[in-house]
Amino acid sequence: MTISQTLTAPARSAPARGGGAVLLSPDRLAFLKTVLWGLSFPAGLLALWWVSSAAGWLPEQILPAPPVIWQSFAELLADGSLWAHTWASLQRVAIGFAFGALFGLVFGAAAGLSATFRAYFYPPVQAVARVNVLAWMPLLALFVGIDEALKYVIIAWSTSIPIILGTARGIENVSPALKELGAALNFNTRDNLRLIVLPAALPSVFTGLREGLANAWQTLVLVELFASFEGLGYLMVWGRQLFQLELVIVSMIVIGVIGLVLNLVLLWIENLGQPWKTEAGNER
């Protein structure tokens, strides 16, 4: 099966390259098929949900019907409150992530480049990072209050941890062969950093950044559930308290979609930043 596939695959895609004007080249057709198959399951679930709500099998208190959710979404969108909450959340993530990424990159680079710095400061940071930020939250709330500062600090905190790890690991794991090459070519420190360490560490740094952003988004929801008066997390808590489940579900969907978009954007930046990286690296 697989052998025959590998043999025929180039033959099939070859004419597609030639006739670029074809609307549905085999590649695109395959992509479209993947998307359609992927959408079939959620669509089926949605249909099931719709039918069972309409038939009254699914009580409103457990899961409101899709039209109710759509209506609530349209209302929230029309009066601008959904946008306001989303904006508040995005702002928090942006500020928290910026601080966390800055700190993570600087600290991670210092730990990766200097063995002395690493020996002194890395273990305490690791110890702090082992306790999840969630457990630190009540303590931080006592120190910085429950205002915006708390949200920034906590988001920055959880952002920085994977970035520190990724940056330090990336710099530390630069292959010895490359370092020898730099030594043989008599690179000065600046060239060494620019031409050897930076490109070699970049994949790991990007992985850290992506995980950091995912963490920032996770933590945002967490801290908004903990204490806030606006934002998507607050909208959920509010909906839960009023027993308006449609509010909860609308915010869940918005949170999920934004999380997905953030991840895709970072993947895109990652590929943009490393044009030399190919998919072939994934196959062992």
Partner: protein, 274 residues
């Protein structure tokens, strides 16, 4: 083992425990120890010289005293047991479902095509966004908490099991084909051994996420006996020593889980050293 016994025993040097201790101490990297010592010293100093109001910062002695008090006459051990019980039940349910679904996704291309993207997309929803909905469905008591922990454990397990089973290197697949393996042989001799490292990665992730969710469920859902309850109690009643104690215990359990997972992984996958 038997090979070892053929080799004549070497002359064992007379045990000199103090020399060994000395060597160990000299070999130890003192620098991290120094920074931890500095942190504790600053903590003591901050308390002693009132840099931070005592209300906000207990002395380390207070925390230790509180720990003794809690062990002797308090409920902290019971709280810890309750927390661990919920954690383990949720972890078992979540990773069990995750393994089963991941196995189906990894072995059937059709299921992966239809259900797979939904599973991946669902992972993007922030974990804690499930809390309000789950609390409506299952209530805020034990069942709701366990449901949330199970959701947290499910996510990493399902994705990693699926990946591990599906992403068999092409050379292995071709070998299996050349040897005309049956599907059963292929699964047991090629796919599962190939997937084990990924499955362990998933379970390790589940352990960490489930612990996070356990802490979170106790903070965000109803207050019940458990470490999270003590954490809220400490912050609401301003019993700062209790708060520190709860945080330290959370950290220790997390550390224990992490070490356990790493050790087990290393021991079980010894053959996997490439």
């Amino acid at each position: 083992m038997s090979v070892d016994s053929i080799i004549p025993p070497r002359a064992v040097p007379a045990p000199r425990p103090f020399a060994a201790l000395g060597r160990w101490l000299r070999g130890l990297d003192w620098r991290p120890v120094a920074s931890f010592a500095a942190i504790i010293a600053i903590w003591f100093a901050a308390h002693e010289f009132n840099w931070v109001r005592a209300k906000f910062l207990p002395s380390p002695v207070d925390v230790v005293n509180r720990f003794w008090f809690e062990i002797n006459s308090g409920t902290i051990l019971y709280d810890l047991a309750e927390t661990l019980r919920r954690n383990i039940i949720g972890l078992a349910i979540g990773s069990g479902i995750g393994l089963a679904l991941g196995a189906v996704l990894g072995t059937s291309r059709w299921v992966a095509r239809i259900v797979g993207p939904t599973v991946l997309a669902q992972r993007q929803t922030a974990l804690f966004a499930w809390v309000p909905l789950l609390s409506v469905w299952f209530g805020g008591a034990d069942v709701g908490k366990i449901a949330f922990i199970a959701v947290a454990a499910f996510q990493p397990v399902v994705v990693n099991t699926w990946r591990g089973l599906a992403l068999v290197p092409k050379t292995y697949r071709e070998l299996a084909e050349a040897l005309s393996f049956t599907r059963w042989d292929y699964v047991w001799l090629v796919a599962v051994p190939n997937a084990l490292p990924a499955i362990f990665t998933g379970l390790h992730g589940a352990l960490i996420y489930a612990w996070l969710a356990t802490v979170g469920s106790e903070l965000f859902l109803n207050i019940a006996p458990g470490l999270g309850g003590r954490l809220s109690e400490g912050s609401q009643l301003f019993e700062i020593d209790l708060l520190f104690l709860a945080i330290i215990l959370f950290g220790l359990v997390g550390l224990f889980y992490n070490t356990l997972a790493e050790r087990t992984e290393a021991a079980l996958l010894r053959w996997n050293k490439r």
